[in-house]
């Protein structure tokens, strides 16, 4: 990366290192192309995936807070220079880390308890701001994204899928919880056509994938059918669990609705990398529904 690239602390999370490794690879390449160097925080640990919703129990906030301590250490150690924004890609990591951080700010007594509990760690000072990569792109201006496009995604009709964790609850989400536009605006900057989907913020079923895959498939069917009815060729998301349910869940959707027409799923960074003409090293396509046919039909390079 160039000497002038801006270094920011970055939290990957479990699935970005495994099933969603192409999400990470395309995001890091996109960031570099825009002059940002996402520096993985040393010795990160699981965020817990879901924010603990109980009022009387702090133990599930220990994991998230430990990651926030690492960000303050990165600043002290010179790995980043006065940069306390922690960048996330996975919507669930974003939500869990941000909410744990908010709870520590709003309830200093809780922070004191956790700092005492982790007596071998430095105290968390509360200086970190958890952000999602999408809001970083928006706040730097989507004009910069548009300027960087080499292969406009002309003719590609994509329904943005926001899901839950990017938007809710209010005060945590990165956009209006009822009428979000951030993904639409990004897709437009890439030259794609953002297709309105009434189901863009309806839950995909989330962790119910572990409880009742057919309940998930019912939601996936509704989300994708509405996207298709609006004219979409594909759907774009920022969450590895949404991506799994929306893609792999189509197997059960086909069982329940044999006439269902399958729809490819993309991470939004796969589309930025495509439009920027980047060729990051990717692992073989782990998707259930192939994207190759659609990309060839739209005369775009195949990821």
């Amino acid at each position: 990366m160039g000497a002038d690239s801006h270094r920011l602390p970055y939290y990957p999370g479990c699935t970005l290192k495994t099933r969603a490794s192409n999400f990470e690879a395309t995001a890091l390449a996109t960031a570099r192309a825009l002059g940002m160097d996402l520096v993985e925080i040393p010795r990160w640990n699981c965020c817990g995936t879901v924010f603990s919703l109980t009022d009387d129990d702090l133990i599930h906030h220990v994991g998230p807070v430990r990651n926030l301590i690492r960000v303050e250490q990165m600043n002290r150690d010179g790995l980043v220079d006065g940069e306390t924004r922690l960048v996330t890609l996975c919507s669930m990591c974003f939500n869990t880390l941000k909410r744990a951080n908010l709870r520590m700010r709003e309830r200093p007594g809780d922070l004191e308890t956790i700092n005492e509990f982790m007596d071998t760690e430095d105290d968390y000072e509360g200086s970190v701001e958890v952000v999602h990569f999408l809001e970083l792109l928006r706040d730097d201006g989507f004009a910069a994204v548009r300027d960087r496009v080499e292969i406009p995604l002309t003719g590609l009709k994509v329904a943005p899928y926001y899901g839950c964790m990017l938007l809710r609850p209010g005060g945590v989400g990165i956009d209006d919880p009822e009428e979000p536009t951030i993904l639409d605006d990004l897709l437009s900057a890439l030259g794609a056509e953002a297709v309105y989907n009434h189901y863009m913020k309806v839950c995909c079923g989330s962790y119910q994938a572990m409880h009742d895959k057919y309940a998930v498939a019912g939601l996936v069917h509704d989300i994708l059918s509405h996207a298709r009815a609006g004219g979409a060729d594909a759907i774009a998301t920022s969450c590895p669990l949404c991506a799994h349910n929306l893609d792999s869940g189509q197997r059960e959707v086909k069982e329940m609705h044999p006439d269902f027409e399958e729809m490819p799923v993309f991470y939004f960074t796969e589309l930025t990398a495509l439009a920027f003409g980047l060729e990051p090293e990717l692992s073989s396509d782990p998707h259930y529904v192939s994207r190759e046919h659609l990309l060839k039909r739209r005369r775009l390079p195949v990821l």
Binding site: C14, R19, T49, T54, R168, Y207, M210, A215
Partner: protein
Amino acid sequence: MTDKIVISEENEEFLAKVSEISGQVITLCDQCGTCSGGCPMVTEMDLTPSQMMRMVQMGQREVLDSKAIWYCASCFTCTVRCPRGLDLSKVAEALRQITLRRAVDYIDINNFPKDDLARLPQIALVAGMRKFTG
């Protein structure tokens, strides 16, 4: 004929317990039904979210036996829409926790179909274990 509803001490204790774990003033719910109208999982549930709230208000422990509290996906749609500012996701979590804290799991991971397990990404496994096991 008039039916008399008796709220026993046991009912009061149950309401107090759920209020304590969830941090929510559950008696504020006025049964408008907005939560049930927007819940993406309501078709899978044996109780609507507003019925769940009513049962907790009345201290009815049987709500713990419902499928509904386990079908909540913590999507926070009800949370952003409740006109009384209540966080129903926290109430559902409290109800699940009352069972899970007794080391009673809702799903049996040992008998989970191997093929399904292999398909699931880590993010689903960690989230599912957090929500369905103690």
